[in-house]
């Protein structure tokens, strides 16, 4: 059986998770929505498309804000998207505990919306960077990282021009002390992020944002080498099966 046919059969062990519904948001300029939806389906979940202009979360169990260049990344990445009608629904739900994952542009939107602390700024070397990056999973207790071991090293692609995480010193200390630094870059910081921060969570751990792209590391055939991104999707799906 070739890899292509293999991709059609769902990842073993997750057949029963069909019930978990993960919303995938599309803003104008979102790019990775199809990839995110595919990764959700691949793990056995149902991907529910959510449209930025609809004030409707369609009763999903969790929400994925994918990467891209929403509104062209004009002004600041995520600055315009965070005002979308859908966000008006999402913000209170997330504060109330709805699991939300933002990758890349999604992370930027979560910061702009103040659902996560800090901000993402221009890469230190001023260049967009696309490369396969080693990442350390520091916190395996969030809604999206339960399937990883704490201290596990994974390989995910990064691809962004504005991924340098910054926050004031007090915020960084609070994040470090509170275990809210979920991911750190290993083997070279691609963007100059403070303390090599690749991703953070809110205090409750239901909202996670990171610059790397787990949805591009779920298949052998395509994307980055390896399938280290699968854990994000299995983590969130298991959570709902176990409810």
């Amino acid at each position: 059986m070739s890899e292509t046919s293999a991709r059609r059969s769902r990842v073993e062990g997750y057949e029963s998770m069909g019930a978990a519904r993960v919303g995938v948001v599309t803003f104008p300029g979102t790019l990775d929505d199809q990839d995110a939806a595919r990764a959700v389906r691949h793990a056995g979940g149902e991907a529910v498309p959510l449209w930025h202009a609809d004030r409707d979360l369609k009763g999903v169990d969790a929400v994925f804000l994918p990467g891209g260049f929403s509104y062209g990344d004009y002004l600041r990445c995520g600055a315009i998207s965070r005002f979308a009608p859908l966000m008006e629904e999402l913000i209170p739900s997330a504060r109330a505990g709805l699991p939300v994952l933002g990758t890349c542009n999604g992370f930027q939107i979560l910061c702009e919306a103040h659902l996560l602390p800090g901000a993402l700024t221009r890469n230190e070397n001023l260049h967009y960077v696309c490369r396969d990056q080693r990442i350390l999973v520091e916190n395996a207790t969030t809604a999206w990282t339960g399937d990883y071991a704490p201290g596990q090293e994974i390989l995910l692609p990064v691809k962004h021009g504005e991924g340098r995480y910054v926050a004031d010193a007090a915020t960084i200390t609070a994040l470090e002390d509170g275990g809210q630094i979920v991911f750190r870059y290993l083997g070279g910081n691609p963007n100059g992020s403070v303390n090599d921060i690749a991703g953070v969570s809110n205090e409750a751990g239901n909202i996670v944002g990171l610059m790397p792209h787990p949805e591009h590391a779920v298949e052998d055939l395509t994307g980055a080498p390896g399938v280290d991104g699968r854990g994000f999707f299995s983590s969130i799906l298991k959570r709902f099966v176990n409810l």
Partner: protein
């Protein structure tokens, strides 16, 4: 019709790699005596009516919520002379 200017600059404590890159390039290009460069944004906002207090308050709100990210940036609003 009036033009309101909104200047947005990174807070002093936030690293500004663009400004630094420029400052580093200057000596090579033969410019001496520059101690620091910071790069920010400038918005020219054209408004329909006069730039009265109400309009300026509106622009200030726009700057606060949209044009600047106050986590990392400061802004200032003024009417163009």
């Amino acid at each position: 019709m009036a033009r309101v200017i909104v200047d947005v600059m990174l807070k002093p404590e936030i690293l500004d790699p663009q400004g630094q890159a420029i400052a580093r390039a200057l000596p090579r290009l033969g410019f001496a005596g520059v101690t620091e460069v910071r790069q920010g944004k400038r918005f020219e906002v054209e408004i329909d009516g006069p730039a009265d207090e109400a309009a300026l308050a509106d622009v200030r709100k726009m700057a606060e919520t949209l044009l600047a990210n106050t986590v990392i940036e400061d802004y200032s609003v003024r009417v163009e002379q």
